[in-house]
């Protein structure tokens, strides 16, 4: 048995073979048993397995893209549950992108933000107002609703508007730190929601608690994107862009600055990092991801009202980040996927199953204890367990390793130290203690 484990942990080919068999079996079982949520989840799980395989990053990306873009939609498309599967997968994409945005604020820059959903709301309302008849209620020029073709440009606009909100919020709020910041942002999140809920008088901008209905779905080359299976690709594309941006930023000067002020604000400043500006950039970029996903959300639901943007949503996204691993990009993606699937599939499935048992008279569980209603309880429990046993999350953040040989090959002349000086130093005084 140990030999077998050894074989798979060391041998690349054996790993790859096993992985292919796994993917083939899970996708086949999904094709054959369309109702089986388990098969669908197993297929999604293959992405996580792929992450741990010993392959080059490029190969992993290619295999992962094939699975996500072709295999999953194809395998799921053979039955009636297709749309509901794709709906879940789309929401996973949306929440992943948002959690990655929050990860910049909380995980990289260390600013605990409990009102993150506000920026999602800003994005959603930005598109909702202009892509429905709502805008004509307070704007007396222009022709509303805008067509679904404007969706693509609104992804950008939603991101920018949310970023502006992020900066406006950040300027006063970033004077406070830690717990105080958490409370202030929590308050801000609620304020935004309540404003949107009441902005129907004196000028009807958000249609108040009635919400905004019949928002135009996106359109591209004359094709209307209305199904979850089509939205899936929109969410996937934005998700990939977000992953690209986040990984690039993490290993850049600004990413280092974020982590530096997270670890030690005073030392960060003393090293020349402008505190307010750096924090504001984190806030703005995090908010813009959320805003972009808000636009997608509004277009997907075609109806929005303030109830979608409650404090529970903010905490849900925070749970995704904490569960996955603060500051860890793969961790946060996993966390977002786990929480979303838990919410939308596992809990509802278990509830249905218990209901069935209930009606068959096998057991009797009061309605109040149905798992779908215990979301908060389960999140709370998860958080406590993770804080106790895995405080760094499912996939803890790792630092980028530098290649010594690359660094030694120096072509430019250093301003600080001549090479021979550094060697001298090493020999005389500065060696290991």
């Amino acid at each position: 048995m140990r030999k077998l484990v050894d074989l798979f942990s060391k041998n690349k080919k054996a790993q790859l073979l096993l992985f292919i068999v796994y993917v083939a079996v899970s996708s086949l079982s999904l094709i054959l048993a369309q109702q089986s949520v388990v098969a669908f989840l197993l297929l999604l799980f293959s992405i996580l397995l792929l992450y741990f395989l010993k392959l080059s990053t490029k190969a992993k990306w290619i295999i992962g893209l094939v699975i996500v873009a072709v295999l999953i939609p194809f395998s799921a498309s053979q039955g009636q549950a297709y749309e509901s599967y794709m709906d879940v997968a789309t929401l996973v994409g949306i929440y992943c992108a948002m959690a990655l945005g929050l990860n910049i604020v909380v995980g990289f820059a260390g600013l605990l933000d409990l009102g993150f959903i506000a920026f999602f709301a800003v994005g959603a309302y930005t598109y909702g107002i202009f892509a429905s008849a709502q805008a004509s209620k307070f704007l007396h020029f222009g022709h509303f609703p805008l067509s679904g073709e404007s969706f693509w440009i609104f992804i950008l606009i939603g991101g920018i508007v949310a970023a502006i909100f992020g900066i406006l919020l950040g300027i006063p709020v970033l004077r406070v730190k830690g717990d105080y910041l958490a409370i202030v942002t929590l308050g801000f999140g609620e304020i935004i929601r309540i404003i949107f809920n009441n902005l129907d008088k004196p000028v009807n901008i958000t249609n108040g608690s009635m919400g905004i209905a019949s928002i135009a779905p996106p359109k591209i080359f004359g094709i209307v994107i209305a199904n979850a299976s089509q939205f899936y690709y929109v969410a996937l594309a934005i998700f990939l862009v977000v992953v690209y941006i986040v990984t690039r930023l993490e290993h850049s000067k600004i990413g280092r600055a974020w982590k530096a002020i997270r670890d030690n604000e005073i030392a960060g400043q003393a090293m020349g990092i402008p505190l307010v500006k750096t924090k504001l950039i984190a806030f703005a970029i995090g908010a813009s991801f959320s805003g972009m996903m808000g636009v997608v959300f509004a277009a997907k639901q075609t109806y929005i009202d303030a109830t979608s943007f409650t404090l529970l949503e903010s905490t849900t996204i925070l749970v995704m980040v904490l569960l996955g691993g603060m500051g860890s990009v793969p961790g946060v993606i996993l966390g977002a996927a786990v929480v979303t699937i838990l919410n939308l599939q596992v809990l509802t499935e278990v509830s249905n199953w218990l209901n069935q048992l209930n009606t068959n008279g096998v057991i009797s569980i009061p309605d109040a204890l149905s798992p779908a209603k215990m979301q908060r309880f389960i999140f709370g429990l998860l958080l406590i367990l993770f804080a106790l046993y895995r405080p760094k999350g499912l996939i803890p953040a790792k630092n980028q390793k530098y290649d010594v040989n690359k660094l030694k090959k120096s072509t430019t002349k250093s301003v600080f130290v001549e090479p021979q000086v550094s060697n001298d130093k090493k020999a005389s005084g500065g060696s290991e203690i």
Binding site: I245, R248, L249, H251, S252, K253, I254, G255, R256, A257, K259, A260, R262, D263, N264, I266, A267, G268, Q269, A270, M271, G272, I273, P274, L275, I281, A397, N399, Q400, K401, Y402, V404, L407, K408, K409, S410, T412, S414, V415, F416, V417, P419, V421, S422, N423, K425, K426, S428, G429, G430, S431, E432, I433
Partner: protein, 258 residues
């Protein structure tokens, strides 16, 4: 030529005077020590120079330009870097990343450039990494480049703080108790390093230190603070025999016996 001039610097916390009317002239390319018993106001003095605290009154001039009213990061840009008494590294970052953060203000690498992988940004980043590696070689931490800073030994953490500070290309380097907690061997290495930085990197050094052997050995000039006031200043030999200094450290009566 004086690189750093401090005139009438005073800091009041409520009714307490942490620093009263401090005057200092620090010559370019010198090593100056600020000594005094615990609670004498030495770190407060450093904190005012680096703009962590705003002085109640007085002025700080670097090359004739006032630093009062600037933000801490602007002071760094002007050319003052520091280390901390209670080590303040970015403990979750790698050793090399710590040094890279030190280059923040002069590294030409915008986040837009990083996003689109512009050649100029990539070039700047690569050079910065090589430079950071050389700095680590310089302080003798090159082998530990991928280690988390928090995992380093105490002496190594102190040297990493120095490497990080020189990465900011300072004209004046403030060292706050660099030898605290070091054994004699480590202190010797530190002494060599400080000497070397002055001669080869052309940095003016101001340090707070309790290790008198180190202070007397490397300083060109010494200022002594007690209860926030400057009680003496002069060359090491003058300070060694100054009765007020001995009194501040050992109490009254020590002069007669000692």
């Amino acid at each position: 030529m004086n690189i750093l001039e401090v005139t009438g610097l005073t800091k009041k916390f409520g009714g307490l005077y942490a620093n009263t009317n401090i005057n200092m002239n620090i010559e370019k390319n010198s090593i100056t020590a600020v000594i005094g018993p615990n609670g004498a106001g030495k770190t407060t003095f450093f904190n005012m120079i680096t703009a962590v605290y705003k002085p109640t009154s007085g002025d700080i001039l670097l090359n004739g330009k006032s630093l009062v009213g600037l933000k801490p990061h602007q002071v760094t840009k002007f050319g003052i870097a520091r280390t901390f008494q209670n080590i303040r590294l970015f403990h979750d970052l790698t050793v090399l990343d710590n040094v890279l953060v030190g280059m923040h203000h002069h590294l030409k690498s915008s986040w837009v450039g990083a996003l689109f992988q512009m050649p100029r940004t990539r070039h700047a980043e690569e050079n910065a990494k090589k430079e950071a590696y050389r700095l680590l070689e310089y302080v003798g931490l090159a082998e530990l480049l991928n280690e988390s800073a928090g995992n380093l030994s105490y002496g190594a953490q102190r040297r990493l703080e120095i490497a990080r500070a020189i990465a900011a290309k300072p004209k004046v380097l403030l060292l706050d108790e660099p030898a605290a907690g070091m054994n004699p061997k480590e202190t010797k290495k530190l002494t060599d390093l400080i000497h070397d930085m002055r001669t080869k990197l052309d940095i003016t050094i101001v340090l707070i230190e309790h290790d008198m052997k180190l202070v007397m050995e490397i300083s060109d000039f010494i200022y002594v603070l007690d209860h926030g006031e400057e009680i003496a200043s002069g060359k090491p030999d003058d300070i060694r025999n100054n009765p007020r200094v001995i009194e501040a450290y050992l109490g009254k009566g020590a002069v007669a016996n000692g």
